[in-house]
């Protein structure tokens, strides 16, 4: 092989590797992403049973029931509700009336079986997906916002 051919071979090899890497990344991206829905969006566009997605909103007041390790609560966006069952330890800052995101899938029985529940890390945290949803639904209370604003200067 001449020097030029050698160089071409190397460049072709590197190019091939890059194309392969890109293919892997984009194939994975199209199959491994999780969508986020609010309870209302879920009602409007039902998701297949067993399909992973994330649901977010506020934990409805007086809806949290603990039975041993089984936690049942309702996620609401003011219009629609979704029942969530989570068989693990909830995060420290999980509270009724506060923002939450649950990851999991719908079951035959019609509730959302969560594999992971994300609550906030601190007092001022409201997941931004939840904020956006609440704003869309007109459920965003300015007082809450102010409280948050003050908190985040914190």
């Amino acid at each position: 092989m001449t020097r030029k051919q050698k160089r071409l071979a190397v460049i072709a090899g590197l190019g091939l590797a890059i194309v392969l890497a890109a293919t892997i990344i984009f194939t994975a991206l199209s199959s491994k992403i999780t969508f986020f829905y609010s309870p209302s969006e879920l009602k409007e566009n039902p998701v297949a049973i067993g399909q992973d997605f994330r649901i977010g909103g506020l934990v409805k007041e007086d809806s949290w029931v603990k039975d041993g390790k089984i936690n049942t609560f309702v996620v609401t966006d003011g219009e629609s509700d979704t029942k969530v069952v989570y068989q693990q330890i909830l995060p420290d800052l999980f509270r009724e009336g506060q923002g939450v995101i649950a990851e999991g899938a719908l079951t035959q029985e019609g509730y959302f079986a969560a594999t992971n529940v994300l609550a906030k890390h601190d007092e001022n945290y409201l997941p931004k997906e939840v904020v956006a949803t609440l704003k869309e639904r007109g459920e965003w209370e300015p007082e809450t916002k102010e409280e948050n604003g003050e908190g985040s200067a914190n």
């Binding site: 090899g13 909830l90 985040s152």
Partner: protein, 662 residues
Amino acid sequence: MYIEIGHFALILAFGISIAQAVLGLTFWRSGGHIAGYVKQAAILQFVLVAISFGVLIIAFTTSDFSLSLAAQHSHSLQPMIYKISSVWGNHEGSILLWVLILVLFGAAVAVFGRNIPNDLRTLVLSVQGVLSASFIGFSIFTSNAFTRLDPAPFEGRDLNPILQDVGLAIHPPLLYIGYVGFSVCFSFAIAALISGRIDAAWARWVRPWTVASWTFLTLGIAMGSYWAYYELGWGGWWFWDPVENASFMPWLAGTALMHSAIVMEKRSALKIWTIFLAIMTFSLSLLGAFLVRSGILTSVHAFASDPERGLVLLALLGVFIGGAFILFAMRASSLRAGGLFAPISREGALVLNNLFLASATAAVLIGTLYPLVLDALTGARISVGAPFFDLTFSILMIPLLIILPFGPFLSWKRADLIAITQRLAGAAALTILATIVVFILRGATISLAPIGFLLGFWVSFGAIADLVYRAKIGRSPFIKSIRKLFSLPKSIWATALAHFGMGICVLGIVSVSVGESENITTLKLGQSAELAGYSIEFVKAEELPGPNYKIAHFEFVVSDKKGNERLAVSEKRIYVASSMPTTEAGILTYGGLSQLYIAVGDADKDGNQVVRIWHKPYILLIWYGTIFMALAGFLSLSDRKLRIGAPKKAKTKNILKSKGAT
């Protein structure tokens, strides 16, 4: 009054950094006076910023709540270490810490860069000046840490309880030293592009800074990961959270840079690529700072979601990255390609290393930014989580880890793969044997795990094989080869140690991923749970007082297979000032490497305590591996050859050129 002195010192530093940048960039060719001035400016700037940072530390440690920042983030009952770490446990303070480390590196270049020619050093320090002027400006104009309160409140509002932890007290400084250290590589790259001086000597000057930054970034990431593991109570050690990715991307790019700089130093090749990586690595650090600090991501790191700050950071990011790449595009074509090499050679292996590391960086970058971009463009809200990263990342790492042990054996320019394979035969045999042993002990199951174990053992044994080969162990008298082993250059030891650490880390990751088990259950006092051969008895629950929190204290007696009993303590802490709870998991280490992890949840009305227990086989290997890597970094830095780095012009260039065409 002293607080205003701190504020004033910072403003002075701002002025000096602007002068340093403007004078340096305008008159870098004139040498002498300007070089001296720029050098002194860099040192003075550090002194001033250190004063202003010191002022914050004094205010926090003396609980001076007339400083608004201290009132909002500290508390008089906090232990001293958290009073200090509260300084950077908030947006304003963390930006000032960033600035402090930035100017520290500037001063370090000024002090230790005596061997660097005047013009190049002046340029490097000027670019550092541009960076520090921007970040000091950002601190003064958008994130002022010195605002006063009048009247001063009686008590502070406490640091976010989850951050009140020793791990988190030292995680940010370590991580920042890593992040910001890459600014020196960036400045060197820009200086090289402006001056047109890009040769092997350049790589020699840049390498110590790269190695130092990489070492601290490694420690910082490992510390953050260990903190998340024991403090969040979720039992996981890596979540592919965007914030973790933000620190991981510069690490991947920095690892690539560290390797490509070797090729540039030794063989004058990969120049353009190395410059590109130097710019890219710091750009990813800046991107990380933007993602974390702008509030665009919701996480424990996003202290404040102030859109104005986010926009300013985005503008800075755009200017630096955009400017650097425009300069790169203008100048790169004028660079001459360096020495040629055959595909099978040390250079060839390092190119592959860079190829896979760069692809992995790209995978993480795309996965992290895609949801943000999609949200901005279409409003669709998606998340890209662990499944994406696990898949793409592991596919890209497998070939990298397979070729890794070959690298140090390959000679420059062209190498004999068959001879090297023979030298690695021992390591390969041990690898297969060790994997079989692991599977006999674990009980064989059909999974991808064997590939993981094979890779981990292969990389670890391969690293040892390199030392064994170079010390001629088994091929010369034993005493002689041992003596030889310890007289090997530090760079050889550092390479072997870092690669060995990588292998160990892989083994830990694989072992936990395939071998961990968990048991979530409810226990009443006196009841027991079983997991992985351990029996866990719930023996005590009580309320205790803490310094600035109340404790719900739980004790468990854990008996292992042999019947040895040990006590595990899990706690839930309720912080007084914020009434926020945190979880302190009870963690017992077995055999020095495996852990039993007990986290408690809430009790229901009948007194059933929810308990989550994990068995994490060999999990500590993950962090021991990173410690080996960091030790390798320090070892490499202690190498006199690297440190002194006397500039040698590549005189041999012509000879190499004629020989290089093979």
